[in-house]
């Protein structure tokens, strides 16, 4: 075990905030944490440092109780965090901000609503919430934008909102997972100032922070250096640097790495550029890009010389990527021009592209192909001659150190290798210009340095112009020249040292902050209004009086409050999501129209032709029978021969050809029983069969009805009259059966899909963490999410009912009130089905398809839509008997078409009502309160 150094006085009195013993965590085959044992002292700022993928996030999740423990024990705030009772007890004392900008925020919701929602989950009463939220907004400088949707905030602001949400309940342990990754330096500084203020207010609070920015951790109290799921070292930053004789933490971290990882690593040295004549490689003048009324890039002017490494520094969303897209021709600028070696970069200009090598943000090659296949594909797409391509690939593979992994799938490579592969692909065709979009984010320091070695080599030896974006300040220092970008504008550009000197700042970060503050002040027009945004406004925290007596709601009301909080949250989300909203309302209306008109079993307007070989009055009288019922038969031109009739049938011009034999009339009168031939197109079986029945019906009438005018047409003696009573639907039009049946399908399909998406979406986007780390119970969560969809289901029902009556003209004969009751129960059951499918699907796509298949198939096949349940047998019958749609279809058909008394639907009501608790129980079992 690593020894804990004597912690500063503030913390010495109490034991560690967390004691971790032999904790191991796996994701399938991948080992994320490898038997970690560690005590985290309380009351300190503790930094967990290490590059991406070393297990930091896993550790943070376990610490916050949001992830399920696998092996080992972890004591947090005096109890076993693996124990549900302890978690329930301490979860109001722990605040957790997961990794990813605004990961646990609801992007459609406003800043205020996001924070207010968290306050509701933690049980703050209606009266104290507004003051608390306002206080946090004031403290973080978010007060001017309470109504802005979280999705429209910059990364830094999102993180502040996240922090507000984490702080609403005044925690004792604050767990922050990479809170400043991708955030601009000014916001970053404000963020840490804010944390400092809060700590000053609550000195007992422990803060545990994971970060990949080593320089940030320099100022913290205590550091845990992690690599490959193991703890490398712990101690105060000064101690660790001293132990490794390093000048900063990054160097220290590299020195702490095991020998085999450090091999080949050496200090990066950048040879100066040989001064030559400065040929301009990239020249941009006044580049501007507007999306609607939002200006993403605002008059950027740059000129970059051949062979230069040009750095583009800025936070997420400042317009770096958009500028790059304009330089590469992916985007046509709204204003301004860009040229590469003098020729204009217009969208689609091939010569320019031949000269470009491009690496998009994150890894953008084909993960499902091997390194070799990726390289070969690109060689082919650049049309390198085969032998030249082979030589070039061999050369690159060797130079970039990819030999050992040539036949490994790209997606299985570690991040550093992936980036090298991307670079190899980008330079495959010897481009003059390389454009790299954040090539090193998520790469460990050793791999980052080796990546930079390649870049320097390309620039200095081959005179390749390199344009690189980054949010690492130390990478900025390695560039020949850089430009600092913020909010679409270039604030300054020049050599990094020069920029620092120009501002008289100690380092690049400070210089950047200085430029940003100037720009903001300038924008505010010197009125001083900029203060609210720039000056660290956290001082207000101290001014706010400590909370007066909490008007805590009664404990029994808390679950109800949380449930309603979720219901309100869900309602606002869906109201602001145009796609889901459209699907919810227009979707059902559209499907109703399509199904109502598209599913019909009416066979009408059958095209037929006659082949009358007799042409006697009798044969005409017989044929006249068909022409006299235009609803069913539409006559086309008579055919002259049997072959022509067959041709018509083949080409689907006619579906029926009636052939009257020669001498029909004479034979009939002679009593020789002539034979009429009806040829029916049987390709579409159901239709063919129906046509055949129609023909037999017409024939029977011709035999008996004297009005037909055939000599033999007379009622026959000695036969049974068959009276057919078409009950419920006397005109026998299928719409009377289809229109009431389709809602049973739609009110199942749409609420179930929306419900499942609403839950799985949270899993996929990360806001599910709010459920994991707040005191919200499973039933509160499920019912809270369900309520809005039950309402949507009911609204849908009224829309569909209106369409049934108005568009399809199907009247309501029974009790509409009873049907409404059935519908209420039915949508509660169907949303319950959606809950169930959400428990075992983890992506929205899977959830949609699984839910669609699981709901559509039994509804169509077994619930009576096509075949009455009474005609089913075996397994199909069992499914039909237990499938809620069968019962709803019975009550819907009963109300519209059959006009059944309400009492007959009591059985449906009871069955549907019984489904609701069953589905809820299954979902309750399936829903997990922690991440795996």
């Amino acid at each position: 075990m690593v020894t804990v150094p004597a912690a500063p006085a503030t913390a010495s009195a109490r034991g560690p905030v967390a004691a971790i013993k032999n904790v191991t965590h796996r994701y399938g085959e991948v080992l994320a944490l490898d038997g970690i044992t560690l005590d985290i002292p309380s009351g300190l700022m503790v930094g967990i440092i290490g590059p991406d993928g070393v297990g930091k996030s896993t550790l943070m999740g376990l610490l916050a109780g949001s992830r399920k423990m696998q092996e080992g024990t972890m004591t947090v705030l005096g109890g076993d965090i693996g124990d549900i009772r302890h978690r329930r007890l301490v979860c109001p004392r722990i605040a957790y901000m997961p990794q990813g900008l605004g990961k646990n925020l609801y992007l459609e919701l406003s800043v205020w609503d996001n924070i207010d929602f968290m306050a509701q989950l933690f049980g703050l009463s209606r009266t104290e919430r507004p003051a608390k939220v306002q206080e946090l907004l004031d403290a973080t400088g978010l007060a001017p934008f309470p109504q802005r949707p979280a999705g429209k905030l910059s990364g830094g602001m999102k993180q502040k909102v996240g922090l507000c949400g984490a702080l609403v309940h005044e925690p004792d342990l604050l767990v922050l997972d990479e809170p400043t990754t991708g955030v601009d330096p000014l916001s970053r500084r404000q963020f840490w100032a804010l944390i400092d203020d809060i700590r000053r207010d609550r000195p007992s609070m422990s803060v545990v922070i994971a970060t990949a920015y080593m320089d940030e951790a320099q100022m913290w109290d205590w550091i845990v250096a992690m690599d490959a799921g193991k703890v490398l070292a712990t101690g105060t930053p000064a101690e660790l640097m001293q132990r490794t004789a390093s000048k900063d933490l990054e160097q220290c971290f590299i020195r702490l790495l095991p020998e085999e990882k450090r091999r080949g690593h050496k200090e990066l040295t950048i040879p100066p550029r040989t001064a030559g004549k400065a040929e301009i490689a990239i020249d941009a003048k006044g580049l501007t890009q507007r999306f609607g009324d939002f200006t993403a890039v605002d008059h950027v002017t740059l000129s970059i010389e051949r062979g230069e490494i040009f750095g583009f520094l800025g936070s997420n969303g400042c317009g770096k990527s958009t500028t790059m897209k304009m330089l590469t021709g992916l985007l046509t600028p709204t204003e301004g021009t860009a040229t590469i070696f003098g020729s204009s970069v217009e969208a689609g200009s091939m010569e320019v592209r031949e000269n470009l090598g491009y690496m998009t943000q994150a890894f953008s090659l084909y993960g499902e192909m091997t390194i070799r296949q990726n390289l070969e594909l690109h060689a082919r797409l650049y049309h390198l001659a085969p032998e030249k391509a082979k030589a070039r690939i061999d050369e690159l593979v060797q130079r970039f150190g990819l030999e050992a992994h040539l036949d490994a799938l790209a997606e299985d490579l570690p991040m550093g290798l992936k980036q090298r592969l991307s670079l190899a692909v980008a330079v495959l065709h010897d481009p003059q210009i390389l454009i790299l979009d954040e090539p090193t984010s998520g790469v460990d320091p050793v791999a980052r340095d080796s990546f930079w070695e390649l870049l320097i080599d390309l620039s200095r030896k081959q005179n390749v112009t390199i344009f690189v974006t980054t949010h690492f300040m130390n990478e900025g220092m390695r560039c020949d020249r850089i430009s600092l970008m913020h909010a679409g504008k270039v604030l300054a550009y020049g050599a990094p040292q020069e920029l620092i000197e120009r501002r008289g700042a100690p380092n690049l970060e400070e210089a950047f902050i200085g430029y940003m503050e100037d720009a903001i002040a300038e924008k505010a027009g010197g009125t001083g209004a900029a203060k609210s945004d720039t000056a660290t406004p956290a001082a207000t925290v101290a001014e706010t009086p400590a909370h007066p007596e909490h008007a805590q709601p009664a404990p029994w009301r808390l679950p109800l409050m949380r449930m309603l909080a979720y219901a309100r949250n869900e309602t606002m989300q869906i109201l602001r999501d145009p796609v889901r909203l459209t699907f919810a309302f227009l979707g059902s209306a559209l499907l109703m129209i399509v199904c109502g008109f598209g599913i019909t079993t009416d066979v009408e307007r059958i095209r037929y032709s006659t082949n009358d070989l007799d042409r006697s009055p009798d044969s005409r009288a017989y044929l006249e029978q068909f022409a006299s019922i235009p609803r069913y038969f539409t006559q086309t031109a008579p055919v002259q021969s049997a072959e022509e009739g067959l041709k018509r049938l083949q080409a689907d011009e006619d579906s029926l050809v009636i052939e009257m034999p020669p001498d029909f009339g004479r034979n009939l009168r002679r009593g020789a029983r002539p034979e009429v031939l009806a040829q029916v197109d049987g390709a579409m079986t159901f239709r063919g069969e129906t046509v055949a029945q129609y023909v037999l019906g017409v024939h029977a009438r011709a035999l008996q009805d004297p009005a037909v005018g055939l000599p033999t047409s007379k009622p026959q003696k000695n036969q049974a009259d068959i009276e057919e009573r078409f009950m419920y639907n006397p005109t026998f039009e299928s719409i009377y059966s289809i229109a009431p049946s389709v809602p049973a399908l739609l009110l199942l399909l749409i609420p179930a899909i929306l419900m499942t998406v609403s839950i799985v979406r949270e899993k996929e986007l990360g806001s599910m963490i709010n459920f994991y780390v707040t005191p919200t119970g499973k039933v509160e969560y499920l019912i809270g999410k369900q309520l809005p969809y039950v309402v949507i289901g009911l609204i849908n029902f009224f829309i569909l009912a209106a369409m049934t009556v108005l568009v399809f003209g199907v009247p309501i004969k029974g009790s509409f009130l009873m049907l409404t009751l059935c519908t209420l129960l039915y949508v509660m059951a169907t949303t319950g089905l959606g809950m169930i499918t959400s428990t075992f699907t983890s992506s929205q796509v899977a959830a949609v398809f699984v839910t669609a298949i699981l709901t559509i198939v039994p509804t169509i096949q077994f619930s009576g839509l096509l075949q009455p349940v009474s005609t089913l047998e075996g397994g199909a019958r069992v499914i039909g008997e237990i499938w809620p749609a069968s019962y709803y279809m019975h009550s819907s058909l009963g109300t519209y078409t059959k006009g059944l008394p309400a009492g007959l639907m009591l059985g449906d009501v009871l069955f549907l009502a019984a489904c609701i608790p069953v589905f809820l129980a299954i979902s309750w079992i399936g829903l997990k309160k922690q991440e795996k």
Binding site: G598, P674, T685, L703, N718, V848
Partner: protein, 376 residues
Amino acid sequence: MILASLMNIFWLGIKEIRSLMSDTVMVLFVVYAFTLAIYVQATGTSSEVNNASIAFVDEDHSALSQELFNAFYPPRFKYPELVDASVVQEAMDRGLYMFVVSLPPRFELDLRAGRNPAIQVSIDATAMQQAGIGAGYIRNIITDRVSSFLERTDLASPPPIQIVVRRLFNPNAESSWFKSVVAIINQISLLTVILTGAAVIREREHGTLEHLLVMPLTAFEIAMAKVWANSLVILIATAASLFLIVQWALKVPFAGSFTLWFVGVLLYLFFATALGIFLGTISRSMAQFALLIILVIVVLMLLSGGSTPVESQPRWLQALTYFLPARHFVSFSQVIIYRGGGLSAVWQEFLMVAGVGLAFFVYSLALFRKSIAASK
């Protein structure tokens, strides 16, 4: 230049196929969709009358009424149940029976006496698929039995006109013939759109699309590669399904020319891949794509004429569905497969599918390029 472009399309397509092949779940899904799923759909729930539930109210209790009672048996009908006249209405309301045949008292006696007694058949007319045809069967069965009964008692007279109804193209009215082909058509629509659309979204989400567009490649080449690669995969699956499932397992005869049909399939695939690119382009995420697919596929399947005849649609809807390639696909498939029609019978529909496909492709291509510009 053109050669270089063709090479690009070829190699990008190869990449597309490789990506698909490495997606085991998708491959298994395609295999399932074109084998088992087709078989199950073709042989599953039948639109013919099958196992219809029937009850008898026998107030006659004669030899003839017993004979009629015994004339109904599986597979078309369940064995009938004897019920009392007083419960008929309620039993029908509960949906226990589709048909109730009521024989009046002294039925046989009246029949022999030439008094033409009436048999009442109550039909649940909300069971659309079966009620009409089933009522026809009941009528025929009763008429046959009654007349054979009367023949035995020398009271029958043969009808003065005979009719022969010949069902062309599917003489025994086996519904699996039609359904299997419709099932293939539906799977082609569904999977082609999903595969192509998902391929577009996956590339955009992974950033590889941007990467490709910075290379000397055109949006046309990228889109065309997706068209041919996905079409090829579906075409192979379709051929396998046609020969293995439809012809070999279900023994459905193929009256027309294979080549002609596959040409038609190719034209339709062109449309379907373009539709996939279109949907993949307009949806911002996989989840939105999934929601869209559901709406689009239902339209393609229900209005194509594969589930119910096109003539039954209201006229305004028929005018709209005329622009739906799926409708023409179902139609020319019937012509070629069952009726053995040649090019002369289907060329107009081929032209329509190709025309709509081309228009869609051009439109999607324009959108595709624009969407990349607007992404992020």
